[in-house]
């Protein structure tokens, strides 16, 4: 009896929530864009979708992708799918697609000639499973950036470094001035991501691909990768006084000059922008840590669960088109600090750092990112290893490399 009442009450609240002014079709969109710069960017998407006569119901889930994805997945597998949802394109939603829970967008894609406009092509490949397209890439996010605070280096009396090696050399001077040389937040994905960046920058593109694409465990235990672990050891020593958890708190340390720099993806740029900082003057960005200028084509994409409601399915198509619309692409990516997925849009308003990124993209110096190469399971093991490595100074470089090679040996 009580149970029934409870269900009734729940149903009533649910009905209240979803009823609303339902002249246009409401489409709930879930994502994990909650920091200042991200929220501003997602508002652009909502504005563009609302302009089509539909209504964007914002389903932001706080706490970064790691927290949000399980919630999204359990809603989809549990039979309560949202209208559309963010994932990082690559392998995160692979099994959901295979289970037939995601909508095939091939028709919309052919109509919009996605294969011609989306650049680089590897983005759409990540959305394609068995020859059908299942997601809409909305931006290119690359991890390969080193953000440096000009103010911090000025205070320490050393010139702003031009690459990773100079940066490591400048670390003692920063420390002397009471500045944390490198900010790395406590969340596991941050230390793991920083290592991957070092792997591509210090080790080089071939090393990166040999480890993550070919999953060559012997190579991962070898001298090439040992160099990268040496660099990671430097990073660990430089980061040891960062007492923050979230990535944007770590970025804030760079913005306020409390930290010298941060290895973080280009989403950090949104934070600099919100804080009113100018690229080149207040902060410096070094793609590929200044050593190997490449851009990984990770990023965000929207997936559309299969829905029974015909109106909503129609609205899904409209949203898919809107997301790739040139105007939306520009507005969204300028706020987000990421690069657009179309090569034919005008980005004059882009700032210094974004222009650097666009130039690298135009050169075609792109690599696939770990989200596209490794399963979530392997990524999680990697995260466990590197969060331990960064937090535990007693852990030797050799031990860490041995465990890393073990993970690569069983990776899928």
């Amino acid at each position: 009896m009580r149970y029934k009442l409870l269900t009734a009450a729940l149903a009533a609240t649910a009905a209240l929530q979803f009823a609303g002014p339902a002249a246009a079709t409401d489409l709930e969109v879930t994502h994990w864009w909650t920091s200042g710069g991200e929220a501003a960017a997602v508002a652009e998407l909502a504005k563009a979708f609302d302009a089509t006569g539909n209504h964007w119901v914002d389903g932001a889930i706080a706490g970064s992708g790691g927290t949000a994805r399980p919630i999204m997945i359990s809603r989809i597998t549990g039979g309560d799918p949202m209208g559309a949802t963010q994932f990082n394109h690559g392998r995160q939603a692979e099994e959901l697609v295979q289970a037939g829970l995601m909508r095939d967008l091939t028709d919309v894609a052919t109509k919009g000639k996605w294969t011609e406009v989306v650049r680089p092509k590897s983005l759409l490949d990540s959305c394609t499973i068995g020859g059908k397209i299942y997601c809409v890439p909305v931006n290119i996010h690359s991890w390969q950036w080193l953000w440096l605070s000009n103010e911090a280096f000025q205070k320490a009396g050393v010139p702003v470094p031009k690459d990773w090696n100079e940066y490591v050399a400048a670390a003692p001077a920063l420390e002397k001035a009471g500045i944390v040389p490198l900010a790395v937040g406590g969340q596991a994905w941050q230390s793991s991501g920083a290592f991957d960046v070092l792997l591509a920058a210090v080790g080089g593109t071939d090393t990166f691909l040999k480890v993550y694409k070919d999953k060559d465990a012997k190579f991962a235990a070898g001298p090439e990768v040992a160099k990268v672990f040496k660099a990671a050891d430097d990073a660990r020593k430089m980061a040891k006084n960062t007492n923050v958890q979230d990535w944007n708190q770590a970025t804030n340390m760079v913005i306020t000059g409390k930290a010298g720099g941060q290895i973080m993806g280009d989403w950090a740029q949104g934070e600099f922008q919100v804080a009113g900082k100018t690229a080149g003057k207040d902060y410096t960005c070094l793609p590929g840590l200044g050593l190997n200028e490449v851009i990984a084509t990770g990023g965000d994409a929207f997936y559309f669960p299969v829905l029974k409601d015909a109106d909503k399915s129609k609205a899904q198509e409209v949203l898919a088109e809107t997301l790739l619309d040139p105007k939306t692409q520009v507005a969204f990516n300028l706020k987000k600090g990421s690069l657009p997925v179309r090569g034919d849009v005008d980005l004059n308003a882009a700032n210094d750092c974004m222009k650097k990124g666009l130039a690298i993209l135009a050169k075609g110096a792109v690599i696939p990112w770990t989200d596209q190469l490794l399963s979530q399971d392997s990524q999680k093991q990697k995260e466990d290893l590197f969060s331990e490595f960064f937090a535990k100074p007693e852990m030797t470089v050799e031990e860490a490399q041995k465990r890393f090679a073990d993970i690569i040996a069983t990776a899928d």
Binding site: G66, R69, P70, I73, S74, T77, Q92, E94, E95, L96, A99, G186, Q187, A188, N243, Q245, S375, Q376, D377, Q379, K380, Q381, D384, S387, E388, F389, F390, A391, K392, R403, T410
Partner: protein, 297 residues
């Protein structure tokens, strides 16, 4: 009772039996069925979605070779011993002190029990602030002038689990105290009088007469504390989310992370089966002694 009435025994108290059917079904389907399902799928290589593709004991081999799982088990043992011993000892001492017919007993009881009204998440956040080196206890004492004072358990890998235990004790001891107090109030006044007439000192009366008489209360308390230990999760998430690094991970968090973050159900199920097994190892011999033994007496 006459023979003709015996067959109807099944129908005696029919209402009560019908009323308990939902609970029996829930217990069978949800608890027993769910457990069997989990154990079965722990032998498969299920990833994001459950699939019946058996791989034998692979998930278990991998589990016991994972450093993070081993750290989790070690943490659970330390946390378990600390919360068992200290919450029993502190809880009993507080109860014994309250039992001395002191003034304002109600007030003290409320104060001690109050933390229990908070969830583990709130408790965890409160203690995360208290133990934060910049804003918490360490910061306050340094501001008072003792600048070399260091107390930052949550930021030190080797003692972080003790920092978590402090919060757990603060939250849970009040309840244990109340249970103990109820047990103490259940002891007949005459026993105290008899002990006093015989000239037995108070601490001896507690240790050798009262505590043995309170056995049922102790067993209830033990079960409550033990179940709280095995399932500890939210406290860790709120205080350190497993950090620094993986120094304060616990088994329940491993299960959750691997099932949902790593999209590896098989591994999560194997870990939860190991948790179940460890509970069984504790519970079965105890239940055998407690219930099996009594029948023969």
């Amino acid at each position: 009772m006459s023979k003709s009435e015996r067959p109807s025994r099944l129908f005696r108290n029919l209402n009560a039996k019908v009323a308990s059917i939902p609970m029996i079904l829930t217990a069978l389907v949800v608890f027993v069925g769910g457990t069997a399902w989990t154990v079965l799928y722990s032998f498969t290589n299920s990833k994001l979605l459950p699939r019946l593709n058996f791989v034998g004991l692979d998930q278990y081999y991998r589990l016991w070779a994972t450093p993070r799982w081993l750290i989790s088990i070690e943490n659970l043992l330390i946390y378990g011993v600390i919360s068992l011993v200290f919450s029993l000892v502190i809880g009993f001492i507080l109860a014994a002190l309250l039992d001395q017919k002191i003034r304002f007993e109600d007030t003290f009881r409320t104060i001690f029990l109050y933390p229990f009204a908070l969830s583990f998440i709130v408790t965890g956040l409160v203690w995360q602030w208290l133990l934060n080196p910049d804003f918490g206890i360490q910061g306050v004492i340094r501001n008072l002038g003792w600048t070399s004072f260091a107390f930052d358990p949550l930021y030190n890998s080797s003692i972080v689990i003790y920092g978590i235990s402090i919060a757990a004790l603060w939250q849970g001891t009040g309840l244990i105290m109340c249970l103990m107090l109820a047990g103490l109030r259940g002891i007949d006044e005459d026993i105290w009088k008899a002990a006093r007439v015989d000239g037995i000192p108070m601490w001896k009366t507690y240790l050798f007469i009262i505590i043995p008489m309170m056995r049922p209360v102790f067993i209830t308390t033990l079960v409550i504390i033990a179940s709280g230990i095995v399932k500890v999760y939210d406290l860790v998430v709120a205080q350190t989310s497993g950090g620094p690094g993986i120094a304060s991970e616990v088994p329940a968090k491993y299960v959750y992370d691997y099932m949902f973050f790593a999209q590896n159900l098989g591994q999560g199920f194997a870990a939860s089966t190991m948790m179940l097994l460890s509970v069984m190892i504790v519970i079965v011999p105890w239940a055998y002694l407690e219930f099996g033994g009594r029948k023969r007496v």
